[in-house]
């Protein structure tokens, strides 16, 4: 080969990206901290420029996470036109998606359980998008099979081998297995438990759960405490319960309340005509397609870029000072919906006016790391019996495993590239600070820990690109006492010019809860 030709080739290779990466070069890394800079600027009270323009609108929804988009979707779907949605610093919130190498992948939440009968609002949404077919209020509706998680769904690496499903079984002693069986039966029974008011004790959305004090008292102790008291002492069982809580609440059984812990297991009673109980709905880029479809219904003309800096009641309406890039503008609305986390809302508005006491009512938030690895080919699996599943988890650690972004693709052969998305919930007390200060190497070490333990060098050498999404305030932790916060109750009840919609009103962050508060805000506006 001529030297010139070689140089040209080398140049072309470096232009076309990472194919020619040498073994000792680290793969291209992107670190995202959604909303962090804007949020911290807001906290530090940086001065904003004078508003250059004004816009008048009947309803302004501030924030475009699931709660804000759901409120907007409901308004648009009911024919309500005079509103806008201000995207905020974190568009799509925890339901955001990404794409690496053209492969869609999640930057946050990645699945939705089959909605129970009480989650009528979610069923309606899914029906509107053609994902749920037939009568949305039937006990067993049919779901789009492309979206129902494909087999094999889950596997767990435990005692040196993979097993099917995440509930530990392989290599456990009889006592542990018996406890796990008893626990499963107990949670099954609690699905049907009702309070004196006739309502089910654990319902999604949690606002529809029984208000009977006997059940709500469970919110005052930790889940770990309750498990011990009930004789659930087996290590494997406690690890599993801890994993489930970390996966949904960002904090383990020591931190979350017993009510929330049980709610995880007992509230998801959805069924599908064409899927097994306990199935989930998932898209390659997590829940992002739902946010895109809600945005499409709302209409691009009603989605404004920018974030709210200050919300001020003025006469019969509300003024919102907004910032888009370097430009400030003012929204004048009859009503606003604060569809943002409460720790942010506390900086744009004096929540004390509503009887909200930050010290007493503000939930502690969990920190998350979502890591997407674009891989050249699939790493070699040790087990033929238990091939790569959608969700893959290792027993015993404090990691949350990884999902495969191309799992739902209908392909005869595996695609040439794929994305593995690994999840980590950081320890609530130290996690946020660690995320803020960790060097890239440390972040990468944590991000790929499970995958390296599973595949070793074969994983490393396939990495083409890495995208890390750091969420310092990812979600509220449903800690003991979370159901008894008077300030939260006050914000839920607000029905004048300023309304609130966010999963923080539930105290736990899942799609159904966020959507529920969006639904409530829309309902107040429409009636």
């Amino acid at each position: 080969m001529q030297r010139r030709h070689f140089l040209k080739l080398a140049a072309a290779a470096s232009l076309s990206g990472c194919e020619m990466r040498l073994p000792w070069q680290a793969p291209p890394l992107t670190v995202l901290r959604p909303g962090m800079a804007a949020g911290h600027a807001l906290r530090d009270g940086l001065p904003a420029p004078d508003p250059a323009r004004e816009r008048e609108v009947e309803v302004a929804i501030l924030g475009s996470g699931v709660a804000g988009l759901f409120a907007g979707w409901r308004l648009a779907q009911q024919g309500y036109r005079n509103f806008c949605v201000l995207a905020g610093p974190e568009p799509q919130g925890n339901a955001a998606g990404s794409a690496l190498g053209g492969i869609p992948c999640p930057r946050g939440a990645h699945y939705l359980p089959l909605p129970s009968l009480e989650s009528a609002h979610v069923r309606e949404l899914l029906a509107a998008f053609g994902i749920l077919r037939g009568n949305p209020s039937s006990a067993r509706p049919e779901f789009d099979e492309n979206v129902l998680v494909h087999a094999p769904e889950e596997r767990l690496f435990i005692n040196g081998a993979w097993q099917e499903g995440l509930l530990p079984q392989h290599g456990l002693e009889a006592e542990a297995l018996a406890q796990i069986e008893r626990f499963t039966a107990r949670m099954q029974a609690l699905r049907e438990a009702r309070g004196a008011d006739g309502r089910r004790a654990f319902v999604m959305p949690l606002a529809l759960s029984s208000q009977a004090p006997a059940w709500r008292a469970l919110a005052n102790e930790s889940f770990a405490n309750w498990l011990t008291r009930e004789g659930f002492t087996a290590e494997a069982l406690r690890w599993y319960a801890d994993y489930c809580c970390r996966d949904d609440y960002g904090a383990g059984i020591e931190q979350v309340s017993a009510w929330a812990g049980i709610h995880y297991f007992a509230s998801r009673g959805g069924h599908a005509a064409n899927g097994e109980d306990g199935a989930v709905l998932t898209w390659p880029d997590g829940l992002a397609p739902l946010t895109r479809q809600m945005s499409a219904t709302i209409g691009a003309e009603r989605l404004l870029p920018g974030m709210a800096l200050r919300v001020t009641p003025r006469g019969a309406g509300v003024e919102v000072l907004c910032l888009n890039g370097a430009e400030a503008f003012r929204l004048r609305a009859k009503r606003v919906v604060l569809a943002m986390p409460l720790h942010v809302a506390a900086h744009v508005l004096d929540l004390g006016e509503f009887g909200f006491d930050k010290a007493r009512d503000l939930p502690q938030s969990a920190s998350w790391l979502v890591s997407n690895f674009l891989l050249d080919g699939f790493p070699r699996e040790a087990s033929e019996e238990h091939p790569l599943a959608w969700d893959n988890l290792r027993y015993g650690g404090d990691t949350l495993g990884w999902v495969v972004a191309t799992h739902q693709w209908i392909r005869a052969a595996r695609p040439a590239q794929t994305v593995f998305s690994a999840y980590h919930a950081l320890p609530p007390s130290t996690g946020r600070l660690w995320l803020q200060n960790a060097a890239q190497d440390e972040l990468l070490e944590l991000a790929g820990r499970d995958l390296r333990a599973t595949y070793g060098r074969d994983f490393e050498r396939r990495i083409q690109q890495v995208e890390l999404t750091l969420r310092g305030h990812a979600m509220a932790i449903p800690a003991p006492g979370f159901l008894q916060r008077p300030g939260i109750a006050a914000l839920r009840a607000a029905d004048q010019h300023i309304l609130f919609a966010h999963a923080d009103l539930s105290g736990l962050s899942v799609f159904e809860e966020a959507a529920w508060w969006g639904e409530q805000a829309a309902h107040k506006i429409l009636t």
Binding site: E145, H150, A151, P152, E276, A279, I410, R411, A412, A413
Partner: protein, 503 residues
């Protein structure tokens, strides 16, 4: 004269040494893949072993120099000569210790070859030649021999002779050096006759090996595939093997028989004609899978067809069946016919984006043996296919054996029912497969099997057709679930059914 002879032997010995190294590395690359790893680890092992050999050479006493040199030549010739064939046989018949034997052989050869040059130098030194002259001459011819072989091996030897016979050829050269040396230095050797006899026996054995190597190789290939391999290729998607025994051509994908040229006409006539002969006005046909072009060959018998689109995953497969003389003779150059468009894509991905609708769609995919393939037999996939089928069009799906895998076969039928089709399952006897199953499907349930065929056929006729659509009493329809993406029931049925059949 003996002086020159020794220098010449250095040239031959050096060639042989490099040749064994190349043969071992090439064979390992061919059988194990990852050629960079194989070449570098084998060359490394070999050079290290040569160092060990050079070290050991000092333990040979001066008076034994020539005799040991001849012994070593014989041993190198013998081990190097049989190395390739031995490795091939081990790979074909005993799977496990291949790598152990490979590296042991390479190491042994390296040690022996490493002793050669020091010995020759000492022999020359003992004959009072000037040391500087010895080093210069010996090393010059050593490196020259390496150059010659490194060029001959890839250009002439490997392609013309193959690895097994190349190894024997160099073994013969080594033994030849031994024999000539034993002859030339007989005056200086104590047991010259015995040495000559030994050298002659080894030489004869190696010549016999050279002649018989092909038979042994063929025999070991038969150990893997039953017949002689005429084409072997590993693609990113699969391993393609074409074998031939007399006039029987067979294609294996990942070790599974895809067709035998003896009876593939039965399979492909059954796959294509019950549908196509019932579609008088068909213009456009889509084939998913079927990269061997044999279904297309049958389709091309219909002059009314204007466009045939074939979507097959593996470009290597369609390339092979478009260019190989024996294979294009079998598919009658169907893939290069102007009416045929070949697209290399994953059928699932292609259907998601491709426009257009077809009068007939023929799905000739491999059996549902993996979750990936299972997705291409699922209800959502058939709904996707349905969007590309004209209102009166027909769909045919190869559906594994209704006799050996009844649950799998009827699961395909049930899945098509579930996807909104009216189904017409049928079965045909293909000797090399046994009873094989197909499902024909349409939208309105109007399909009638043809009463006559207007195109030339070797096997199918009206009577066969009528009997194909009747399922005898020993093939009842079991109760099965449809194949959903979230349960992959078909892959499970398929595995369970075949596990019951294969011992």
């Amino acid at each position: 004269m003996p002086h020159r002879l020794l220098i010449l032997s250095v040239f031959i010995v050096a060639s042989c040494g490099l040749a064994y190294e190349l043969v071992a590395a090439a064979l390992a690359s061919y059988l194990l893949g990852d050629s960079v790893l194989q070449f570098s680890s084998i060359i490394g092992t070999y050079l290290f072993a040569m160092g060990v050999g050079s070290h050991l050479s000092k333990y040979i006493k001066d008076e034994d120099l020539l005799a040991r040199f001849i012994d070593i030549e014989l041993l190198v010739g013998l081990i190097g000569g049989v190395s390739a064939t031995l490795l091939f046989v081990i790979f074909a018949w005993v799977a496990a210790p291949f790598r152990v034997v490979l590296y042991a052989l390479v190491f042994a050869l390296g040690v022996l070859v490493g002793m050669e040059i020091p010995l020759v130098m000492r022999v020359l030194n003992a004959r009072k030649a000037e040391f500087a002259e010895i080093v210069s001459r010996v090393l010059t011819f050593d490196y020259l021999g390496a150059l010659v072989v490194s060029l001959l091996f890839p250009i002439v030897l490997a392609p013309q002779l193959g690895l097994a016979r190349t190894a024997f050829l160099f073994g013969i050269a080594n033994a030849g050096v031994a024999l000539v040396a034993a002859q030339a230095f007989r005056a200086e050797l104590r047991q010259a006759t015995a040495l000559r006899l030994r050298a002659s026996i080894v030489l004869l054995a190696l010549i016999a090996g050279f002649v018989g190597a092909e038979a042994v190789t063929r025999w070991s290939e038969r150990g893997i595939y039953g017949d002689q391999i005429v084409h072997a290729q590993t693609t990113p998607y699969q391993r393609l093997i074409v074998t031939q025994w007399k006039d029987d051509l067979r294609l294996y994908i990942n070790g599974n028989l895809q067709f035998s040229s003896r009876d593939e006409h039965r399979y492909h006539e059954a796959l294509v004609h019950p549908a196509l002969s019932a579609l008088a006005g068909a213009r456009r046909v889509l084939v998913l899978g079927g990269g061997d072009g044999l279904a297309v060959r049958e389709l091309l018998k219909y002059p009314g067809l204007e466009a045939i689109t074939l979507v097959d995953l593996d470009p290597a497969m369609t390339q092979l069946f478009s260019t190989s003389a024996t294979l294009t003779a079998l598919n009658q150059h169907s893939l290069t016919n102007p009416r045929v468009q070949v697209i290399n894509a994953d059928a699932g991905q292609w259907l998601e984006t491709a426009p257009g609708s077809y009068d007939a769609i023929i799905i000739d995919l491999p059996d549902p043996s993996s979750y990936g393939l299972g997705k291409l037999y699922s209800e959502p996939f058939y709904r996707l296919v349905s969007r590309h089928l004209s209102d009166t069009g027909l769909l045919v799906v190869q559906s594994t054996s209704p006799y050996f895998a009844p649950h799998a076969f009827w699961c395909v039928v049930t899945t098509l029912d579930e996807a909104g089709f009216h189904t017409f399952p049928y079965q045909a006897h293909v000797p090399s497969f046994g009873v094989w199953g197909f499902v024909l499907a349409d939208r309105h349930g109007r399909y009638q099997p043809p009463k006559a065929y207007s195109v030339p056929l070797r096997w199918l006729d009206a009577e066969q057709t009528a009997s194909m659509f009747r399922f005898p009493a020993d093939m009842p329809r079991p109760e099965v679930e449809p194949n959903r993406l979230n349960n992959q029931a078909l892959v499970r049925y398929f595995e369970e059914d075949w596990r019951r059949v294969i011992r």
